[in-house]
Symmetry: C2
Subunit: 372 residues, 2 copies
């Protein structure tokens, strides 16, 4: 895959953390990186120019949602997702596997593919690995993901093993069906919470020689230490020269723990979803801005943040906007939360360059309390 | 009132239109001007810096809404509305009279003031002209409006006359209660759709020597020609050296007709309200972007518009955002609609400066169709 080259510039001496660059058709992406999620071809409440202002280097969009609305053929007609949403930097599309899996009662998994009903109008759909590749190639992101079967938490061994096996067979079918040369196809490691399955999955996919690897099926309800342990166990079996993408993970503590365990890429709706509900990240932990305690506070959301929102608006004003259901409230909290994560990743990259990742992590957690 | 000086630079030779400047504590405002409405201390879907980008020179906020939430005392604690919402250009607050009046079944009008129930929690409130001044002075806008009683359309003569009389007595009480020197207080002409009442109202208020005059109770359901006729009839009775503000009017055709009849200031929620429902202004009239016809169109909302939205996004993409209920959809349509009106007012001012207002108006209506 000529159009996805990954360079590792530096490896941390005391952990598995790496500092790298992902070269993609729409530009270079420094790693480790967080990818804001633009589910329906827009990162909720944000404009493309604001995303650039906060240094978004790559964003993710959801194949399942775009397939249903407005449809991949419509987006193909616009010359692909980049042109449709006017985002000229790299994009990654997921496969829709996780979303289809989440429909639970509304889907049926067969070897050939998955039958499901649209959450929008109940219409019946059938997606095979081959069709998924057709959809993602029409969307035209820089990176496409193989169509996989995600296991829930908890999940019994046999079911997890069966889902993993199918994920591998589907990965091979995706690889055969994928022809677009200006798009990289990543495989996805599955295996639920069984060490041996995860290792088998990492090895099997490594043998297929994908240009990058997703780690799927984590952060689905399990305790965080369980996720961290699994990451440590599979890391040695994942190719050292390929990017690793921990799917659906995006809380500040998980980003740091993930980087330490050799993860290069992350995505999550968390920062924008909690923002719309009025919860924001600060260097001291999360803050629920709806609380009455903030009504008269003139200080910014996070006194240690230098984003546009924190340089301009008070907690009292933002609380008023959120309480009154004003769009600007969701805009300001979303902007700040994304900035917080992107800025944190920038600092992590810098710390890695300067051989002080452990010190950075230590300082971060001295202040940050995930569950105040 | 030292802090509100109005200069008329030029009068149109063929109509009552004037080109002027309003000097206010937070800056100069060129007239004729359109004021975007920030009901709850935010122009819906817009940020202050976007409002500046589209050349918003003054905005309006609603006393009734701010009184109920977050409360004028809270805003006073922030040093006033400018600091609360981080808007350093002029602001005008209405008196809340129109909103209270619109509560119909939920309010009782007495000579002393108006008793009403909050639309938020049903709590009982009582606002007198004196209390209204206290609230607006706490908000601290550059321009406050007198507390008035608005008549509906249609309205019988006796009721209209009574409401007008009360409006005049309340205007006098507002004038006595208003003490803030860095805030101008405008009177409001009422009198429903009776020429003699309107003229009496214009004269009575002129005698009270306010630094500016609102024209209230229009655009409340009457046919547009009826409004235009009334404007023509009362214009000679309104002071030539004071700004005239036609309240709640903001469709492109009404702006042109209003300017021609001597109006200097306008406000309306129309551009942002229809925007959120997916209707946008174009040089050829309104366009309902939800329509399927636009799904695959790559052209901008308005091909003759040079705003950020029209320079960047397609009709197809914006239609998708609106259909999917995405915040960015409301943002882009609101931005465009406000730009459309502000840009139109800029062109009107330029036409007045260059003695070609009639030609501009003619050219505009040659293309523009208000009801396609």
């Amino acid at each position: 895959m000529l159009n996805c080259q990954f360079e590792v510039h530096k490896r941390d001496a005391n952990s598995r953390a790496r500092r790298g660059t992902l070269h993609l058709p729409h530009g270079d992406v420094p790693t480790p990186i967080f990818m804001p999620v633009g589910t329906q071809a827009t990162v909720k409440a944000m404009s493309p120019r604001e995303l650039k202002e906060i240094d978004t280097r790559i964003l993710l969009s959801n194949t399942y949602h775009l397939f249903l609305r407005p449809g991949h053929e419509l987006i193909r007609g616009f010359g692909g997702l980049h042109n449709f949403m006017q985002w000229d930097r790299p994009i990654l599309t997921d496969s829709g596997g996780f979303q289809v899996f989440s429909l639970s009662e509304m889907r049926k998994i067969r070897e050939e593919g998955v039958e499901f009903r649209s959450h929008l109008d109940g219409s019946k759909c059938f997606i095979t690995p081959e069709y998924d590749m057709e959809i993602q190639q029409a969307l035209g992101a820089d990176i496409a993901m193989a169509f996989d079967e995600c296991s829930p938490y908890p999940c019994d061994y046999d079911r997890a093993k069966a889902a993993m096996g199918r994920t591998h067979r589907w990965a091979a079918r995706c690889r055969r069906a994928h022809t677009r040369e200006d798009q990289a196809l990543f495989g996805i490691v599955q295996g639920a919470f069984y060490k041996d399955l995860r290792i088998e999955s990492a090895k099997t996919l490594a043998d297929m020689d994908f240009p990058g690897y997703g780690i799927g099926g984590l952060s689905v309800g399990e305790p965080k230490p369980m996720m961290y342990e699994l990451l440590e166990e599979i890391e040695p079996y994942m190719p050292q020269d390929k990017p690793r993408y921990l799917m659906g993970v995006g809380s500040p503590d998980c980003l740091l723990e993930g980087v330490e365990r050799g993860v290069d890429m992350f995505d999550c709706v968390l920062p924008t979803r909690i923002a719309r509900n009025g919860t924001v990240f600060t260097h001291h932990g999360r803050l629920v801005i709806r609380n009455n305690a903030y009504a008269r506070q003139e200080i910014p959301l996070d006194e240690e943040c230098d984003c546009y929102v924190c340089r301009t608006f008070s907690r009292g004003y933002i609380r008023h906007l959120i309480k009154a259901g004003e769009i600007l409230g969701a805009r300001l909290t979303s902007y700040h939360n994304l900035y917080f994560l992107l800025n944190m990743m920038r600092q992590i990259r810098q710390a890695l360059e300067e051989d002080r990742f452990a010190a950075y992590k230590h300082e971060f957690f001295e202040k940050y309390n995930e569950n105040p």
